[in-house]
């Protein structure tokens, strides 16, 4: 039997837990069931495991272990950073600066704070998706207590000038947070180089388990906790620690540091092949995001006259897992706020395709994608009443 080639090209959504991570976690479910707060041997064993995971995460971020707070993932880290800092610093001011292309975990948190009396500036971005450091500088007022800008965008892959924004925020004495969920374990995330006071990350984006993440909180930064209870995580996050998950996160972070540059280069080469081949073989297509300052594994392509949900489902039928910023794939029926913010008209935002590569992505999977993609686009365009003229530059014209 010939099995259909499969290609999981949705690593920005989630990644598989690596074997080594799984093996590191396994004992902490049954064999070592201790609660890290207990005094006995079981508890001490769990505490040691937490300490060692904390050191692994701290080492990857170039910070001190006592600056790491474990959470349930990226969303909680963003919530704790933003709400926590704003509630702890409301005596100093009520103004937050962020961008229009942040993850919903940041945007929805900011909108919640607006209802609580905070004022939020949502900075626009350039066509390539960049926040301008000058815009950040111009937006800072006496009342600004937090700047939060993501390290790299989850949809279009644009890597922000975080270090420059950090210099500005620090120069004005404003706390700076970055959501590094898409970059941690993929590119260097040195909290000192970036100049951030807080940084969010999530394990399942870097071959660790779902349901665990971390927030870097620089020494001296005051946060109001969101979950009240015991004195876990320096009283910033009450609740018995997810020991197995945290061990998994620590292991995944340590593994990611090994060979990070080589893996980034490998994915970048595959990514560039996808971008170049797709754009040259399929007419009326474009790249969303920046060509240069881009996540190594992210290709976000736009195709005119078609709609992304159909694209994703037809690719799924060919064994390829991808995603889209199309409205029809979301429950809100609005095109992606990111694609809208970079200036795409809604009709073009509907035809986007996000392909995100990872450690498991092979050359032959990319071959398979590039074999299938032109035909899939062509099939949908043949059905589309929006098509104008001939859009094929490639050799596919006679087929399908």
């Amino acid at each position: 039997m010939v099995t259909m080639p499969k290609a999981y090209l949705d690593h920005a959504a989630t990644t598989p837990v690596s074997g080594e991570v799984l093996r590191a976690m396994e004992p902490f479910f049954s064999k070592r069931p201790g609660n890290a707060s207990s005094l006995h041997a079981y508890g001490r064993e769990a505490k040691e495991a937490l300490d060692s995971a904390r050191a692994q995460v701290a080492s990857a971020l170039f910070c001190s272990p006592d600056e790491i707070v474990f959470t349930s993932g990226g969303t909680e880290s963003d919530n704790l950073a933003i709400k926590g800092a704003c509630l702890a610093n409301r005596h100093k001011g009520n103004h937050i600066i962020t961008s229009k292309i942040e993850h919903p975990a940041v945007l929805a948190t900011c909108r919640f704070l607006e209802k609580q009396g905070f004022a939020v500036t949502y900075l626009p971005v350039s066509k390539e998706g960049f926040v301008s450091p000058q815009d950040v500088e111009g937006a800072i007022t006496q009342k600004t207590i937090l700047v939060t800008v993501m390290h790299a965008n989850n949809e279009i892959g644009t890597i922000q000038p975080i270090a420059e924004i950090g210099k500005i925020a620090n120069g004005k004495g404003v706390l700076f947070h970055t959501d590094a969920v898409q970059t941690a374990g993929k590119i260097k995330t040195d909290v000192n180089g970036l100049g951030v006071g807080m940084l969010s990350l999530s394990a399942h984006k870097l071959y660790g388990p779902k349901g665990v993440g971390a927030l870097f909180v620089r020494k001296g930064v005051r946060l109001e906790p969101l979950a009240h209870g015991g004195e876990h995580e320096r009283s910033l996050r009450a609740g018995t620690e997810n020991v197995a998950g945290i061990v998994g996160l620590g292991c995944a972070m340590a593994l990611a540091q090994k060979g990070m540059e080589n893996e980034a280069l490998r994915e970048q080469r595959l990514r560039d092949r996808i971008i170049e081949t797709a754009l040259s073989e399929i007419g009326d297509s474009w790249l969303n995001g920046s060509r240069q300052s881009r996540l190594p594994g992210n290709a976000n392509l736009g195709f005119k006259y078609i709609e992304g949900e159909g694209l994703v489902l037809l690719l799924d039928g060919k064994g390829i897992a991808a995603s889209t910023g199309s409205a029809c794939s979301s429950m809100r029926l609005e095109p992606s706020h990111v694609l809208t913010a970079i200036g795409l008209p809604p009709e073009d935002a509907h035809g986007s395709l996000r392909l995100t590569l990872g450690k498991g992505t092979t050359e032959s999977q990319v071959d398979h994608l590039l074999e299938v993609l032109p035909g899939v686009v062509r099939k949908l365009r043949k059905m589309s009443p929006m098509r104008k003229g001939l859009e094929w530059k490639g050799t596919e014209a006679g087929h399908g």
């Binding site: 159909g310 037809l314 029809c328 008209p345 809604p346 009709e347 509907h350 589309s384």
Partner: protein, 133 residues
């Protein structure tokens, strides 16, 4: 995502019936808006008061494509009067249902069919009026 769709929806999405532009149709109906991501165009040929030929072109999600395909199947061979009675609900039922969120936005195929029939009848009326003159 594919999970929220019935087998019938997926069948009509993967193998849509009666697609493509029709040369010299008797009437065309077009609904939707590219801004919303859904545009449907239905072409009909009418013979002896019946829909003799029908084709569609749709830009939209899987539900939009499947409903377009299904409405062409439902309308084929029907009298104009019967075809006009095909409702959005009939189309959704014939597809074993649609996800609730898609019932409104992507279920415009019946509207496109009615628009095509309406345009045909207007054209026919105009032709009669011109004959009388």
């Amino acid at each position: 995502m594919a999970d929220m769709y019935s087998k019938k929806v997926m069948d009509h999405f993967y193998r849509p019936r009666n697609t493509g532009e029709m040369k010299k149709p008797d009437a065309v109906g077009e609904v939707g808006n590219p801004v919303c991501g859904d545009v449907m165009k239905i072409y009909i040929k009418v013979k002896g008061g019946r829909i003799d030929g029908i084709r569609f072109q749709t830009m939209g999600c899987a539900a939009a494509i499947a409903t377009s395909s299904m409405v062409t199947e439902l309308a084929k061979g029907k009298t104009l009067e019967d075809a006009q009675k095909i409702t959005r609900q009939d189309v959704a039922d014939a597809l074993s249902g649609l996800p609730p969120i898609k019932m409104h936005c992507s279920n415009l195929a019946a509207d496109a069919l009615h628009a095509a029939i309406g345009n045909y009848l207007k054209g026919a009326e105009k032709a009669r009026a011109e004959k009388k003159d």
